[in-house]
Symmetry: C2
């Protein structure tokens, strides 16, 4: 467990720098019951910042697992209309949202994948509007992590449960730039400036496509949408409020052209999806769609993911992170995308962020899709960066520019 001081500093990071709740704005916090003391701190910070109201939705991984074990699929799939109205209400009231995640990477191991898939589909359909609300930066949102013992033991299997839990706390704090004596606001200001150097440079190049290659078998050409924007670090809502959607974050990312992705990509880290770990998987794309796939573990979960809808076989995000980056150098495999995606170049299957193209937030999903912006109910990042990754950009006048050599940015 971290000190009270660290915990309240972390709450300040989550609420002031992460979601950046505004005076008079309501805040929704989703969080695990075990984190109630941290969440109390977050609520306190939010009221001090002038939040008009704070609502907390608590959840419990254990109850979720039990419900999958005992409740019939049809019952789990039934989303009552009040739950949909609640989502609409929160959108209308312009809530900002803080997600406190605390996943167990193997939470649903042993549960029928088809059951999990069907229930997740029902939930995604119900929360479609909320996905639109956040992915279009209408309201601020942020994701921070809170450790739990099962997750900790997965990350540090050689340690006792208590030691592992403390180590995971340390890892979360250090990657999130929270320290006993440091100034978290200053640390995040500096960090966001550093990230911006890469995104600005990439925006100047205005590449038509990127070519990824490494010795593991990745050989993938990803077209970029015309007028794409590289983003990274702090983001802005449509109304101009700065927020940090991911804590921690190291990536710069943009929008692929979902009709022009060809070749093969090989994963380099396991992916926890719907409570199960998909590991050692490979995807082959043709004209923007996955036409072949395989995985060493939980291939059926990968299959279900790819079969979600029309857009789940194409890409909505491409992100660059140097192999030599702080989270990567910690040599910790977190089994959690919030962290692992910041240690590795990654792609996301599914929906694009409309903010990654000029004017994207003003387009309908159909308009965006026509231009090459992928649409889907899912948005699932997976990691494929490696020590020997090379990335070459091609400009609109067919010049080739080396972006990555030996796993790292060359500029």
């Amino acid at each position: 467990m971290v000190s009270k001081k660290m915990l309240s500093e972390y709450a300040r990071l989550a609420v002031k720098i992460g979601v950046n709740v505004q005076k008079g704005q309501p805040l929704l916090i989703n969080g695990p019951v075990e984190a109630f003391e941290f969440i109390r701190e977050c609520v306190k910070v939010a009221y001090e910042a002038g939040a008009s109201e704070v609502w907390v939705d608590y959840r419990d991984n254990n109850l979720q697992r039990m419900s999958f074990e005992h409740v019939e699929t049809e019952t789990l799939k039934e989303i009552p209309s009040w739950a949909i109205d609640r989502i609409k209400y929160r959108i209308d009231k312009k809530y900002c949202v803080l997600h406190v995640i605390s996943d167990d990477p193997d939470l649903l191991e042993g549960i029928d994948s088809q059951k999990v898939f069907e229930v997740q589909m029902a939930n995604m359909k119900a929360s479609n509007q909320f996905q639109y609300y956040t992915m279009n930066n209408i309201g601020q949102w942020s994701i921070v992590a809170y450790p739990n013992r099962k997750w900790a033991k997965k990350v540090f299997p050689e340690l006792s449960e208590d030691e592992a839990y403390d180590r995971l706390w340390d890892a979360i704090m250090s990657t999130s730039r929270v320290s006993e004596d440091g100034d978290v606001t200053k640390a995040w200001d500096e960090h966001n400036r550093e990230v911006k150097v890469h995104s600005e440079k990439l925006n100047e190049f205005n590449f038509k496509s990127l070519h990824f290659e490494n010795s593991l078998g990745t050989d993938l050409k990803v077209g970029l949408i015309r007028n794409h924007i590289w983003e990274g670090g702090a983001d802005k809502t449509q109304g101009g409020v700065t927020f940090n959607p991911n804590i921690p974050t190291e990536e710069v990312f943009t929008m692929p052209d979902c009709y022009h992705i060809d070749g093969t990509v090989v994963s380099t880290k396991p992916l926890s999806y719907n409570g199960k770990l998909i590991d050692e998987f490979k995807l082959t794309f043709k004209d923007g769609k996955v036409i072949e796939y395989s995985a060493k573990t939980n291939e059926d979960v990968l299959k279900n993911m790819l079969d979600t809808d029309d857009g789940s076989r194409s890409l909505g995000e491409v992100a660059l992170i140097s192999y030599d980056s702080p989270i990567s150098n910690s040599n910790i495999l977190f089994y959690n995308t919030l962290f692992d995606e910041n240690a590795s170049c990654h792609l996301a299957l599914g929906k694009c962020y409309p903010t990654n193209v000029k004017g994207g937030s003003d387009m309908t999903s159909e308009e965006l899709h026509k231009l090459g912006g992928n649409d889907s109910m899912i948005h699932v990042d997976f990691m494929f960066g490696s020590r020997d990754m090379s990335v070459t950009g091609t400009t609109y006048d067919d010049k080739e520019v080396v972006v990555f050599a030996d796993g790292n940015f060359v500029f």
Copy 2:
């Protein structure tokens, strides 16, 4: 903290004996975040008993206090329509309800009473249908307690917070008949049989009224509704499912005639209402209505309570408990009605239980009210039993029968 074994025995008591969830029935649990381990146990027991689905609504006293400190009254009073639809949904689905209470008796001390009153009014109006659902025994419901440190320290101010917490656990376990080696099912079967002896005897007498007197100034005549029923211990839903609404419980209770209550009643224990303690209070009734009142502390809270609606100045329940009863003999003042009402004769301001009169569950509130069954949004028990309480019953043929002498049942 109690042992894991005790905790799981307590969960079994709450779910199997308290709310008695049926095979194929959904269960709603309201509980405090601090109790998440106990609630997990309850959910486990519920699924083992065949519950179709278990939903948990977590709450946090600290967040409630903060919202009263920081959120405007108008915002707190606004109940979104989805919240009302959620109540309807749960009634339609025939949820049974387990309330895990863990109050801080002074939670809202220092908060403007008018603000608390207005917010509570709005909440009561919104949950009116649910009150009807439970008070008419349409679905099973039960209340159990979970300790917290502030409550514990209030009960045992001379102990350290940790010691007080452990002592409160012990007190809850022993009054609820949960022990390391005992059989909780057997203990409750026996206890319910004992309680029934008194209620059956009182039903035979079929009193027209009861006269309460003691040296503290109580001199109150409470008419009883014609065809009243004394109840106590286990109860039954309209569909015939047995459940125990209160854990613990020692009382037998019935329905006053809300037009025939006259005289003065003096409280003998403080009453925690809306997060504040009303203490040393006195009520004078005429023709069934409170016409005078006073309190040494928080008189404004008492005033607001009495002013809630038309029925909040009359009585909905009269309950008899021997002064020489287990909870009373523990000499612990719990500052919590779930416990304190079982140590003392008590009355409830507000709505009656329709099950306390023959055919009551089939009557509308208006029909019931005509006969003398009080109607209100509130139902607030308060304690007035004492060591020297005498209770005399008057039968329909004007015979007087001594029911209590020196604080105890004479039969």
